[in-house]
């Protein structure tokens, strides 16, 4: 039995073998490669494409995130899942959730935008951030206008490292508006691997943020646990 999460930008497969979590990650368009030789009856699916993939059962990403996060942090009371196209904030204790998908400023797509502008890999954003000496204020809440503001900051003499750090703060501020008070706040999703964004959010919220070892596979794992 596997958990399969086919999201907007990446697909993930998780199985538990002898108590050990095994996983594979690929681009969304290659999701079929993940299930070669696996019967639909052995798949529990989640993610945007959960109903397109063959499955024994399917579950929404929100429920999958709750089950997956509990595996790592049983006391989690708020989960923030930063995906490629949306951000979901799940208030586990109050059994509520909100999703931001009207605007790209609080989603992984925003940071992809920034990385593309500087012609660097998404995963390099964190190390650029760590080298920043100053922090420019980027106030725009719209991703496109924030990008023009970013260019203005470069013109005034800020370095790419500093502007990237400023963009992480703008991103984190946007998300922070959605997050309720929490004792145990857990972040998941591929974007969370970006240490610059994570430290900006910790600084804004003034709270410790927990991140599972592999934050991108949590929903696939959660789908599997949900069914078991």
């Amino acid at each position: 039995m596997i958990g399969l999460d086919v999201g907007s930008t990446a697909a993930k497969k998780v199985s538990i073998e002898d108590g050990e979590i095994k996983y594979q990650i690929t681009g969304t368009h290659n999701w079929k490669d993940l299930i070669t030789g696996i019967e639909g009856n052995d798949i529990i699916s989640t993610g945007y494409f959960r109903n397109s993939a063959p499955h024994r059962a399917s579950v929404t990403e929100i429920t999958a995130a709750i089950y997956g996060v509990r595996h790592y942090f049983p006391d989690a009371d708020v989960i923030v899942d930063i995906g490629g196209q949306d951000t979901k904030v799940i208030d586990v204790k109050r059994n509520n959730f909100i999703i931001n998908d009207k605007c790209s400023a609080g989603t992984g797509a925003f940071l992809e935008f920034v990385a593309n502008y500087f012609k660097i890999e998404l995963k390099e954003l964190g190390s650029f951030h760590s080298r920043a000496k100053r922090l420019p204020a980027i106030n725009n809440t719209c991703a496109v206008f924030a990008l023009s503001e970013m260019i203005s900051q470069l013109v005034t003499g800020f370095t790419p490292e500093e502007v990237i750090a400023g963009m992480h703060y703008a991103f984190a501020r946007r998300i922070s508006f959605m997050i309720p008070d929490a004792q145990t706040l857990v972040l998941i999703g591929g974007t969370v691997k970006n240490k610059g964004m994570l430290s900006a959010l910790e600084d804004i919220l003034q709270t410790e943020i927990l991140v599972p070892d592999e934050p991108q596979i949590v929903n696939a794992l959660g789908a599997l646990i949900y069914y078991r």
Binding site: Y48, T60, I62, T63, N95, N96, F97, K102
Partner: protein, 314 residues
């Protein structure tokens, strides 16, 4: 019989007086969920579409009554645009503090705008229909009628389809059925702009047993101006939030709801109320922001499905 004047309404205006003045009311919001228009200058699509259709005479009415106090400022501005395009327009204000004498004076101004009350028996007939409406609403909560069928009748209480006989026939065509009640949900805020929302919710095992605004349409009545003013002054959308919340708490408890869907429009002032609703109404709550009309989008369906799963966990 002279041809009845067709009077547009932008929100709840006592239809009792419009019929009593021998006019035919038409809720301009009726045309929105099925519309394929992309209005040029919009905040909320509900008001922007009727504004554009009326200003361009794609929707032909003899005059328009704009609910100015007790509805949103988008309606107030869009109503003025319609007036500037040459449509005779009257602005109707509910009192924020529930002052029934003030509302009575507003109702007299409304009658002056419409003409004279040539059919004073009509409010009584409408009161009877609204009593039937309350029974229909109750039957839905008991799982005897489908959520979508009842919503379509309830929402029509704003203008009673412009003709009491036509409306009576629509009511009598309702067919009782046994609806499995998995998750009893209240829908608060403005009505969804998607024409299939209630049916989609039901297909995802969420049964809507309370429609906040449509319930207001059938909750108020009266047989003369004096009584109408005393009843309609409690129209919750025009009153302070704590008044509305107290009313909601009572209704939700009565209907044994398991969860609440708070629907607002993109760029809608009701969105500012969301955190208050979440803190005051002690139920799992899903907030949905719609934009343009049409079928319920897939992303909204995802939220509904996730909400159902959340209710299953409680």
């Amino acid at each position: 019989m002279p041809v009845q004047k067709k009077i547009g309404l932008t929100a709840l205006v006592p239809p009792e007086l419009i019929f009593a003045c021998r006019c035919s009311p038409f809720d301009v919001n009726n045309v929105i969920p099925g519309s394929k228009k992309y209005p040029r200058n919009k905040l909320c699509a509900w008001t922007a579409i009727w504004q554009e259709m009326l200003s361009k005479r794609e929707l032909k009415l003899d005059s328009l009554i704009v609910v100015a106090g007790g509805d949103c400022h988008n309606a107030l501005v869009d109503g003025q645009k319609v007036e500037m395009s040459g449509v005779p327009t009257h602005f109707f204000f509910y009192p924020f503090d529930g002052d029934h004498e003030y509302l009575e004076s507003q109702l007299y101004k409304l009658v002056d705008f419409l003409g004279t009350m040539g059919s004073p028996e009509k409010p009584g007939e409408i009161k009877e229909l609204k009593e039937i409406g309350k029974k229909i609403d109750k039957k839905r909560a008991q799982g005897k009628l489908s959520s979508g069928d009842v919503f379509r009748i309830m929402i029509s209480f704003s203008d009673l389809m412009g003709d009491l006989d036509v409306f009576r026939k629509a009511i009598s065509s309702l067919k009782e059925q046994k609806v499995e009640m998995n998750n009893r949900v209240a829908l608060i805020g403005v009505p969804p702009i998607y024409h299939d929302f209630h049916d989609v919710a039901q297909s995802l095992h969420l049964q809507i047993v309370f429609d906040e605004l449509p319930f207001e349409f059938l909750r108020h009545s009266g047989t003369d101006i004096h009584n109408i003013a005393r009843d309609y002054c409690d129209y919750t959308f025009a009153r302070p939030l704590d008044f509305r919340i107290r009313f909601l708490q009572k209704e939700l408890e009565k209907r044994h709801v398991n969860g609440v869907i708070h629907y607002t429009q993109f760029a809608c002032h009701h969105m500012l109320e969301d955190e208050i609703m979440r803190s005051k109404l002690d139920y799992p709550m899903l907030t949905i922001q719609g934009d343009l009309p049409g079928k319920t989008p897939e992303q909204i369906k995802l939220r509904l499905e996730a909400f159902r799963e959340a209710l299953d966990r409680t």
